[in-house]
Amino acid sequence: MIPLTIALTKGRLEKQTLTLFEQAGIDVSFMQDKQRKLIFTSPDQRFKFLLVKAADVTTYVRHGVADLGIVGKDVLIEHPFGYYEMLDLKIGVCKFSVASTKQYRPDDYKRKRIATKYPTVASEHFRKKGEDVEIIKIEGSVEIAPVLGLADAIVDIVETGTTLKENGLEIFEDICPISARVIVNKAMLKRKHQAIFQLFDELECVIEGGKTR
């Protein structure tokens, strides 16, 4: 049996994914003692898991090194090509929002500077609203940009809003919800469709909101 190769986003999403697999009745105990390994094959040879960074999940799937990938919608928006995005797992739920300090005036006439780790999401959002803004790409700790005056506002992922609050920011606008998706290599969907849909059927029983058919 050729295992189904699944690229998992390392970290929190990996844990939530494995919990979901467990709920669906799939034994993932072989993933428990990870140490520093990055490739795991299940004892029954059904699955092979790769642990990679979020953005790399799309790369592994696009090139067919992994058949499936599990990754947040935020990453897919920034890396949108070359795979099927088939299933919303409804885990890792959060949202993209526009946030800033209290003093921020969204209806100000001036051309705003928006700091973000997600330039595609930010520019798409303001373009759709018909507003022209300047985007500044920041790699992390985006919250301090409006506080220190580098930018007028930020576009960032918000889960509970605690980080924003602690840095004196509030949400002005929600852009879109985010959750973990299953992406599939285009050729492999066709060649391994039985194994892939069997997994989907198992997962759909435990995904919040029920089955899609």
Binding site: R62, D88, K186, A187, K190
Partner: protein, 396 residues
């Protein structure tokens, strides 16, 4: 910084066996289509951007530059649009069977590991409305893939009208159409389910099942029909696919042929049957084609029925390389060395044997070195008074 020791990203040099293999493969494909009565057409690599511009297409991928009058030019990203331009502007009369091969260019983002320079070969049947044209296209593709010994290749049929009829039935505006197109091309179970909640109709069950409606025709098509209302025009489209499948199956029994009712294309000019080709060990679709009766229309010409397909030859060369199928280069066995005054005599000797080559070195020692390095069996030395054969030992 000088970039004279680098290649632009997404490009590569092909050397020796690979270069020869790529050349042979392209020639093999061209020989087959020529035999089947296709006429070769060669269009420029440089065209005006307007030839390729369409709203739907991801025009980010173009290599663009200006001519001296400030007009936008591109390196051609595909071969089909230029053929549409030729037909609409030269007054040539269809029906025509055209064939092409050459380089196309896509300016992908850096560091994705994508190829920016690709070799494509393909055929276009212009002015044929009969289903025979689709059959010819697929038969021709099968002949090519069999001749190239591509292992376990596989065809998949779809139809551009399925998506179009759904859009018409639901009365979708441009934005909703684009959204549905995205969900179709993502095969998104979740998003399609949410979409039909917002746009409910009697097609709900069919739309939600789209991501699963691919595979063996005798399994998928009855399921698909059962999900549709009996009077739906989509059933007629499915019947057309079924007819085509039956005919192809009847004279290519060994061919693996499946359907995918969820196929959508980025290009709006596709109007009928769509086909994709896959093979073992190839992570992407290396062959695409279909019926596009609206091609000439894009260039202000009346509608002409047309069917065509394109094959990504680089993918097949890489596959052949991986499988070790590329023919070894004819290895010369003998190096003929002479002094410069005896060169004509040496040349005459080389001409008589296909595996002899002329030494261009000044001294015999250099010729021996070269012979050893490139695994020649022997060196023939011609001097004024004698001809002697020197074995090139594996060592020494």
């Amino acid at each position: 910084m000088k970039w004279n020791r680098s290649l632009p990203s997404g490009t590569k040099d092909k050397l020796f066996r690979e270069a020869n293999g790529a050349y042979q493969l392209e020639k093999q494909v061209n020989d087959i289509v020529k035999k089947r009565g296709y006429q070769r057409i060669d269009t420029p690599v440089i065209e005006f951007e307007d030839v390729f511009y369409s709203e739907e297409k991801n025009e980010k991928e173009f290599y663009r530059f200006f001519d001296k009058q400030g007009r936008l030019l591109v390196l051609r990203p595909d071969m089909t649009m230029p053929i549409g331009r030729v037909i609409a502007t030269t007054g040539i009369q269809p029906p025509l069977k055209l064939a092409y091969s050459g380089k196309v260019f896509r300016s992908n983002d850096d560091m994705l590991g994508e190829q920016n320079e690709l070799t494509q070969a393909g055929i276009e049947l212009i002015g044929y409305s009969s289903l025979k044209a689709e059959i010819e296209c697929i038969t021709c593709a099968i002949e090519i893939l069999e001749a190239l010994k591509i292992p376990n290749f596989h065809f998949e049929l779809g139809h551009a009208q399925i998506f179009r009829l759904i859009v018409m039935k639901l009365g979708l505006d441009e934005a909703a159409k684009t959204e549905l197109q995205n969900h179709f091309s993502n095969k998104s179970l979740t998003d399609l389910k949410q979409f039909v909640e917002r746009y409910p109709s009697e097609l709900d069950a069919f739309i939600c099942a789209i991501p699963r409606l691919f595979g063996e025709a005798q399994e998928v098509l009855p399921i698909a029909k059962a999900l549709l209302p009996v009077e739906s025009t989509i059933i007629n489209v499915i019947d057309e696919i079924e007819t085509l499948m039956d005919i192809i199956n009847s004279y290519h029994q060994k061919i693996s042929l499946t359907v995918d009712l969820g196929l959508v294309t980025l290009m709006d000019y596709y109007t009928g049957v769509l086909f994709n080709g896959y093979a073992d060990l190839v992570p992407d679709i290396f062959l695409r084609g279909g019926r596009y009766d609206h091609l000439a229309e894009q260039f202000g010409h009346p509608v002409i029925p047309a069917v065509g397909l394109g094959i990504n030859l680089d993918t097949l060369v890489a596959l052949q390389y991986q499988l070790n199928n590329l023919a070894a280069l004819d290895q010369p066995t003998t190096l003929v060395h002479s002094s410069i005054t005896q060169l004509a005599q040496a040349e005459a000797l080389v001409k008589e044997h296909h595996d002899y080559q002329l030494s261009l070195f000044e001294t015999l020692a250099e010729a021996l070195d070269y012979g050893r390095k490139w695994q020649y069996q022997q060196i023939i030395e011609i001097t004024e008074d004698k001809i002697q054969v020197i074995k090139v030992g594996e060592r020494n």
